[in-house]
Amino acid sequence: MRSPRTRGPFLALSLAIVKGFVRDKASVFFALIFPLMFLVLFGGLFGDQTQSKVELVQVGQVALLDEMSDGARGAFDETFDVEESDDLAAALEKVRKGDADVAIEMRGDTIVAHYTQTDQVKAAVTQGALQAFVDGTNVALSGQPPRFSLETERVEDDSLSTIQFVTPGLLGWAVAMSAAFGAAATLQGWRQSKLLRRLQLAPVSTRTVVGARVTVTLLIALVQTAIFIGLGAAAFGLTLTGSWWMSVPLLVVGTLCFMALGLLAGAITTTTEGAVNAANFMVLPMAFLSGSFFPLDAAPQWLQTFSQVLPLRHLNEGMLDVMVRGEGPSAALWPIAVLAGFALVVTLVAARLFRWETT
């Protein structure tokens, strides 16, 4: 009738931890919902940024617009949102306030465009686009076919949109955060409630207890991964490249690494809130400095160099390489080695600082 020794305690502990997690709304929110909010934010909103139209105020009659052929007018409307006005001063005020991007008026045969330098990128786009339409209309009026034509192509794969860049980074951050928080909160919570003491008196090995906690955290990480990739693909057109499956071993060692940091946070603090705050203090700045939210390409060199000592940086790089940059499986090996090294060192430190009780 008695179940075999070796399996029972492990499963029972894992189940107890899973239930404790699922029933804690705050944990579930921060592990699953919160990172997804970022994914929706980055993937959904910023993804369309380059396509937002230039707001143009047309003051009085502007021959260029009125004489444009239907085809040219269609292309023009894709770039510009046209609003008509008779009051130049009001139009200029609008541009100055940022309610419109450019105001145009005719002075004889010259089109005068009033723009603001506040948003330099938009200003450049506006000037370039207007110039192109003026040239195009001139050519069309001359009745001669244009001699040269220009086609532009991006160097990246067509699918490399914002979502491709943000998914691996946000996923790495989400996994790191819930691993660190989970470990820190469990260690502190169990110590506070004397459950650690009680478990010490039960015939289960430390290995079984730690193993159950690690297993549950890994399961949570896999669920996070599935949801992230599923939502990214279904809603935002995420497409994974060849060896994306290498992200799984990457996330596994990443989880171990950040659990170790969480244990460290739990070991050096005396309250559950303190442990969670300490974990937060380690993970959140690290996420920014490691390029989880924004690419580091534009960051100063010293920051890029410094970020190499952060485990999350290596997790991010590895994830980007295998998930969207189309690198082979071997691209993940170095990050995996670095993360494993971090995990080992931090675990040893945490174990040294570990106390059964807070007093």
């Binding site: 009738m1 008695r2 179940s3 075999p4 020794r5 029972g8 305690p9 499963l11 029972a12 502990l13 189940l15 107890a16 931890i17 239930k19 404790g20 029933r23 804690d24 919570g189 409630s193 004397k194 459950l195 003491r197 009680r198 478990l199 010490q200 008196l201 039960a202 015939p203 289960v204 090995s205």
Partner: protein
């Protein structure tokens, strides 16, 4: 063989001698109570005997085995209820019990019986955070006993219990003891110690002052008997038989109460009336 053998056990926190060279022997099948004011060192002593704390000096042997370092062979044979309830967060009472049962490889059905034994059937699906103090205490006791240990340590098991639950727990513990289990508990209730315990240790400032049967302790106190009459008069006498005979002759027996020395008197006599830190 002695169930518990403690020799010169000491524990110091800073310069506080929480437990001071305690020696003690408990026979198998015995029911022992440890009494003592707050901070006397009861919990510290128990935790060292259970193998939770490493003593500064001395040694403790339980069921013939040393308890320190952690002895995995011993653990299934002892049951421990810590002074503070220790639970898995957000599990229901039943799930809690099942988890502890699994740690000791006890089948689920046997574990469920314990819900009834501690009167928590109606609260089986309530999360531990939502149990009342006394209910949590009962669940904690059930978790300590679920694997039917030979030797049971209970640290203030009846604290926070209502009178019904307290009596029921007395019955439960007496039953365990009658079937041969050794029980060691701490308590602040003298009546409880008097009813349940074969022997009582009175502890103060880290040392055991007396360790004897409740009867012998009370006899040793040699306190006079007090007779309270219905009209409020109080007689103090060393010869209660003669005094009561006299009252009978005077037809004044209705409503009298006779108080002999109690364990509480022994306790106060030994430990004084001052507050403890």
């Amino acid at each position: 063989m002695a169930a518990i053998e403690v020799v010169d056990l000491s524990m110091t926190y800073g310069d506080l001698r929480a437990v001071d060279a305690v020696s003690l022997e408990v026979a198998e099948g015995e029911f022992v109570g440890i009494l003592g004011p707050n901070g006397a060192g009861k919990t510290t002593l128990l935790e060292m005997v259970e193998g939770l704390r490493e003593p500064d000096s001395g040694r403790a042997t339980v069921l013939g085995m040393p308890v320190w370092p952690r002895n995995a062979g011993l653990l299934p044979r002892i049951g421990v209820q810590l002074q503070a309830s220790a639970f898995f967060e957000r599990l229901t009472a039943r799930e809690q019990l099942h988890t502890f049962a699994a740690l000791y490889a006890v089948p689920v059905r046997e574990a469920d019986d314990w819900l009834e034994r501690v009167g928590l059937v109606e609260k089986a699906d309530t999360r531990v955070e939502d149990l009342s103090g006394g209910q949590a205490q009962r669940l904690s006791i059930a978790c300590a006993l679920v694997h039917d240990p030979e030797l049971v340590f209970l640290d203030e098991p009846t604290a926070a219990l209502d009178p019904q639950a307290r009596r029921n727990l007395w019955d439960l513990l007496s039953g365990l003891n009658d079937s041969g289990r050794t029980v060691v508990l701490t308590t602040h209730y003298m009546d409880e110690a008097e009813v349940l315990c074969d022997r009582v240790a009175i502890m103060d400032a880290g040392a055991i002052l007396r360790f004897d049967t409740p009867d012998a302790l009370i006899r040793g106190l040699d306190a006079p008997t007090r007779i309270l009459l219905a009209d409020g008069e109080v007689l103090t006498t060393r010869d209660p038989a003669q005094e009561i005979a006299r009252l009978a002759d005077e037809h004044r027996l209705d409503g009298i109460r006779v108080q002999t020395g109690t364990l509480e008197d022994v306790f106060l006599d030994l430990t004084g009336r001052e507050y403890r830190a």
